[in-house]
């Protein structure tokens, strides 16, 4: 009996905790409400199964408690029952999976005309770049990174010159405009996550990954690194400010372009190109030249 009560308490306690727990997700600030909905749906379906299984077990151990001389039922299988259970489970699983896949399809399909923002992870800080007036992000390469070119923008790519390099660690985004985040890392794996957006993706050195989001609520939200990236992982922070279009435009005006940043540092684009060429030559020289005679 005590055991049965213990099991029932666990089941009931879990449900009660679920409903009264003050620890719950932060209010959403993006278009990904469908993700929250899918989670709620999953909670309901799986919660019912959990409670049913535990209560059924509790019932059995009371009802069929050991009595001397009693024999258990000898019935090795029950096809009908097993079929029903298989079908019901499959239906339940499909009820979670199918909506989930629909939402995933949205998640991987970036809407046309989404603005681009590059988020660059670097142990242990965040850096942001916007495409500038031409709407095109300049090419970049980790090899080109130096003090004058912190993003490693290819100096030969004309699209890069008007790129906006966000000063300070904070990024601003306009309300209700879809944004495609282009994620890149210059050292190790990182992961860009704003809990209020519900959307995240790893940043992989040597590749550009992406996700998209449409901010739906004004406010200042934390950006955290969600992939262990070394001793400073927990301190790798930044903030995203979601602003009205007018505020956003004002903010944008204060930011420097790549060209302006170079001018401020008294570096010319030609100097950068020369440095890049030297680098390429050095790498070519390092390739093996020896060949064996056949």
């Amino acid at each position: 009996m005590i055991v049965a009560i213990g099991l029932i308490l666990v089941a009931v306690g879990t449900v009660v905790f679920h409903f009264v727990s003050p620890w719950w997700w932060t209010p959403i600030a993006s278009n990904w409400g469908y993700i929250d909905d899918t989670i709620i749906l999953t909670f309901w379906i799986t919660g019912v199964v959990f409670v049913a299984v535990v209560l059924f077990s509790a019932y059995c151990i009371v009802k069929f408690k050991y009595r001397e001389g009693v024999r258990a039922q000898y019935k090795p299988e029950d096809h009908k029952l097993e079929w029903w259970l298989t079908i019901l489970t499959s239906v339940g699983v499909a009820a979670m999976l199918i909506p989930g896949l629909f939402v995933w399809n949205q998640y991987v399909t970036v809407p046309e005309g989404a603005a681009q923002v590059e988020a660059m992870g670097k142990q242990w800080s965040w850096h942001y770049r916007l495409p500038g007036a031409d709407g095109k992000m300049g090419k970049s390469n980790v090899r080109l990174i130096n003090d004058d070119n912190p993003f490693g923008i290819d100096p030969k790519d004309p699209n890069g010159l008007d790129d906006v390099l966000v000063d300070g660690a904070n990024l601003a985004l306009p309300m209700n405009k879809p944004v495609k985040f282009l994620l890149r890392s210059v050292d190790v794996l990182h992961n860009f996550y704003v809990p209020e957006f519900r959307a995240k993706m790893d940043m992989v050195p040597g590749a550009i990954t992406y996700f998209w989001v449409e901010p739906t609520r004004e406010g200042t939200f934390d950006v955290l690194c969600f992939e262990l990236c070394g001793v400073g992982h927990h301190a790798m922070r930044s903030q995203v400010e979601v602003k009205s279009q007018a505020d956003y435009d004002a903010w944008l005006k204060e930011q420097k372009t790549f060209k302006k940043a170079l001018a401020d540092n008294e570096v010319t684009i030609e100097q950068l190109i020369k440095r890049a060429d030297d680098q390429t030559k050095k790498m070519k020289d390092a390739l093996p030249k020896g060949h064996l005679t056949h």
Binding site: A286, P288, K289, G290, H291, H294
Partner: protein
């Protein structure tokens, strides 16, 4: 499918009980050591396949600079094929009850395998001397990785071979007692020959 039939059995029914009581407890009609070896080869096959997958994943990228395989590798390939053939002849001799054939072919197979390993080591050294360092290009790195992995497995086989060879040197002449070991060696040799041929073909063309 025997496996599916097995899985469909209802062991509690009277009919099945009658059948099951004649069970000998042996799933496959081969000695345990041979079954164990098959699982082991399965495990190695996964290992080697993953190397091949990694290789094919990498070779399509533009910075892959194929290295020129030294001609010695062709010689080595002939030697390792010979080793497998000799091992097989040893097994055939064992089946036909010819101890002398078993012993001489078995010994030669081991010597050939050893020669192959020496040849592979020389080939690697030639490449290093010619400036193909593992760190410089993925093609080089994969070449050494594949060659050494294969070599280490063959070296392991040579340990098993040496144990059998020592038994023969110590005067073991009874074919029945040697048969299982020779059989296992042959299977292993053929498997590693196959692995090498796959590796070599892959490296030759990319």
């Amino acid at each position: 499918m025997k496996i599916l039939e097995t899985l469909m059995q209802k062991p509690w029914t009277a009919e099945q009980i009658a059948v099951d009581n004649t069970e000998d407890g042996i799933a496959v009609a081969i000695p345990p050591s041979k079954l164990g070896l098959r699982f082991f080869l399965g495990s190695i096959a996964v290992l080697m396949s993953l190397f091949v997958i990694g290789y094919s994943d990498r070779m399509v990228l533009s910075d892959w600079h194929p290295l020129s395989e030294p001609w010695l590798l062709w010689v080595n390939t002939v030697v390792v094929i010979a080793s497998s053939v000799l091992m097989h002849l040893s097994l055939v001799a064992a089946r036909e009850g010819r101890f002398d054939g078993l012993k001489s072919n078995f010994m030669l197979a081991g010597v050939a395998a050893f020669a192959f390993l020496v040849g592979q080591a020389i080939a690697c050294n030639q490449l290093i001397a010619a400036g193909y360092f593992a760190a410089d290009n993925p093609a080089n790195a994969y070449f050494y990785l594949l060659t050494v992995t294969h070599g280490v497995h063959l070296a392991g086989g040579l340990v098993a071979w040496a144990r059998v060879a020592l038994r023969m040197r110590a005067g073991e002449r009874e074919i029945a007692k040697l048969y299982e070991s020779v059989d296992l060696c042959t299977v292993y040799w053929h498997f590693l020959l196959f692995v090498w041929l796959v590796f070599f073909t892959l490296m030759l063309f990319t």
